[in-house]
């Protein structure tokens, strides 16, 4: 099993190295975009744990993202001298609690019913964020300043973007690696097999409800972490962070990138953020283009860009069996 995944480790190391030297080459504008891409990659990866791995279609992922963002921002504003780690931790804990409680309520249903419930609860979070003006700032949003990074021996100011970029790369990147590790654990595989045949898993003695709840909470927590970094990156949180548009964004990223591969959502986040930056310069109607791209992909390329890439790869290198590097395929999970 471990041997099979060794190719992944060099890829991860390489990705970190490339991302690590980027600030030397990129202009500030692009570095800003790169930070955003890393944060949204984590958000999309957490979403894909639900959609791709567990087959749960959620329309309410922004509630965890927004909760993480708001909890971090409110904590920084309300608690003086709060360290960066504690601010992030507060966001994370809030997302875990929300994920557990809401998961308990919503996971009683599957399929369309679950999708509907997630959308409704996202709307509740949005409504509360809009109306609870004294805490969330309502339509005005919240402005924060990033606290300094305290490493015990020494502390760094995160005022300039490059140092914040490195922090994001390390922490958010570690989050993504941890998500990948999660999918390789027995727990991650249980979820995958449950998607394929839940009856059988129940029969084999697995408690599918608990497994799904753990996955949902984990995915919510990761989205909360992404939200915390979103707040720290922009140093501003508005209610759009918790709105259904933010759910739509992650859905588009994940789906465009492809749900069948672990790296699909990361690719999707790249494409989405870059497209958003370029299209919004050209036209005000870029959401419309994204909508058309999305519907086109749903109809003709349900596997997303990662499927296209994998197919090209297979053509070029004539791999006999296409399951070599599919973290989501069942063949591998049970081998």
């Amino acid at each position: 099993m471990n041997q099979k995944h060794t190719p992944f480790v060099p890829i991860i190391v390489l990705a970190f190295l490339i991302a690590g030297v980027l600030p030397a080459f990129l202009k500030l504008y692009y570095l800003n975009m790169m930070t955003e891409i890393i944060i949204f990659s984590l958000y999309a990866v957490s979403y894909n744990l639900l959609l791709g791995y567990a087959g749960l279609l959620s329309f309410g992922h922004a509630m965890f993202f927004g909760l993480g963002a708001f909890a971090t921002a409110v904590a920084i504003i309300r608690i003086p001298e709060l360290s960066l780690w504690n601010a992030i931790l507060i966001g994370l804990v809030m997302a875990v609690v929300a994920g557990f409680v809401l998961g308990f309520l919503m996971l009683r249903h599957k399929g369309a019913y679950f999708a509907l419930l997630t959308l409704a609860f996202n709307a509740l979070f949005y409504a509360v964020a809009t109306k609870w003006h004294s805490v969330t700032g309502g339509d005005d949003g919240l402005s924060i300043t990033r606290p300094a990074l305290d490493l015990g021996i020494t502390s760094f100011s995160l005022a300039n973007l490059t140092s914040f970029y490195y922090l994001t790369l390390v922490v958010v990147g570690a989050g993504m690696v941890f998500c990948w590790y999660f999918t390789q654990t027995a727990m991650g595989k249980t979820v995958l097999l449950m998607r394929e045949n839940e009856e059988r898993m129940k029969f084999l003695g697995y408690n599918t409800h608990v497994a799904r709840l753990i996955l949902f909470t984990f995915s919510g927590a990761v989205a909360g972490l992404a939200g915390s970094f979103y707040a720290l990156h922009f140093q501003f949180v508005s209610i759009s962070a918790i709105s259904i548009d933010m759910t739509t964004a992650v859905l588009l990223m994940t789906f465009v990138g492809g749900t069948q591969k672990f790296w699909g959502p990361i690719l999707g986040a790249f494409v989405y953020i870059i497209l958003q930056n370029y299209l919004s310069d050209i036209t005000d109607r870029w959401p419309l283009f994204m909508g058309f791209i999305f519907v086109f992909m749903v109809m003709f390329i349900p596997g997303g860009l990662s499927e296209v890439i994998t197919k090209i790869q297979q053509r070029l290198f004539r791999k006999g069996n296409g399951n070599d590097d599919q973290p989501v395929s069942v063949e591998e999970a049970i081998s």
Binding site: M106, G111, L117, L124, G291
Partner: protein
């Protein structure tokens, strides 16, 4: 105390509107097992079409009430035939994603064509007047909405339970393969049901325009409320939709009167309570 009848009637009017929207949604879900996220977007489209029609024929709401459902019926039929049917083989997640994408596109198109701001739709004549009822004077239009909902509900119940068409529909739901074997054109039935759902959403959009004014966020607002109606009433249950619409309409109306700060959360609280006590909804079949 004169407020109570006012708020009661407000609640009834909103309940009527909610029923019109959620009836189409629950019908399509019950028949085709497709949760149509684009339903509310089609409702919005109905409202905007009606706005444009009323600009040409001022005050002639009945023209919109005939034309908009026809336009939406055609749109619904096209969507089912050329989009939904093709992704059907990929499974339910794909169908949901498709309708979600469609809702997104329709909303963006509406913002593009009509602008991202509210447009007022006015009715004239008798519908714009007030009548005395329960010792107060009350706008006719809100009562008209409620009566429309009652009529639509009765017509739907009549078709489903008293006609041959209704028997075919229910047969196609129960066992579509068997119905197909017995000579029922099931794909055609599904196309008709989806198109009828779209027409119904268009009709409710026309009705909603003068009450709530027409704006790009109207789809999302009603969609959430209609979803809550479906959760509370039970999936695919027409009777559940009626009761749940009434409960939620009145709850929203009296919520504003009694707990102004909590009113937005009341509906969700109700939903959470129903989920805990009876996850399948008040009138839903247990899974």
């Amino acid at each position: 105390m004169s407020q109570i009848p006012v708020f009661f009637l407000h609640g009834l009017a909103y309940a009527g509107l909610l029923f019109l929207v959620s009836a189409g949604l629950t019908l399509v879900f019950g028949m085709m097992n497709v949760l149509n996220f684009a339903h509310a977007a089609m409702y919005m489209l109905g409202a905007y079409f009606s706005f444009s029609i009323l600009q040409r024929f001022t005050g002639q709401l009945w023209i919109s009430m005939i034309i908009c459902p026809i336009l939406l019926f055609i749109l619904g039929a096209l969507v089912e035939r050329f989009l939904l049917r093709r992704v059907h083989k990929f499974g339910h997640v794909q169908e949901l994603l498709l309708t979600f994408g469609l809702a997104y596109i329709i909303t963006e198109l509406v913002k593009w064509y009509w602008g991202n701001y509210p447009l007022a739709v006015n009715v004239t004549g008798f519908l714009n007047s007030t009548i005395p009822i329960f010792g107060i004077t009350y706008p006719v239009y809100r009562i008209f909405i409620f009566l429309c909902a009652v009529c639509v509900g009765l017509i739907m119940a009549f078709i489903l339970y008293k006609t041959r068409l209704g028997i075919i529909l229910r047969a196609a739901v129960n066992d579509s393969e068997m119905a197909n074997t017995l000579g029922v054109n099931v794909p055609l039935v599904f196309m008709g049901v989806f198109a009828f759902g779209a027409a119904l959403s268009g009709f409710s959009g026309v009705i909603a325009g003068p009450l709530l004014s027409t704006f790009p966020g109207m789809a999302q607002e009603i969609l959430i409320d209609a979803f809550v109606v479906i959760v509370v009433g039970g999936f695919g249950s027409l009777g559940g939709a009626i009761i749940a619409s009434l409960i939620i309409g009145e709850l929203q109306s009296f919520g504003v009167l009694l707990f102004p700060n909590l009113s937005i959360a009341l509906v969700y609280l109700l939903m959470a309570v129903v989920l805990i006590i009876k996850p399948s909804g008040l009138f839903g079949e247990t899974e």
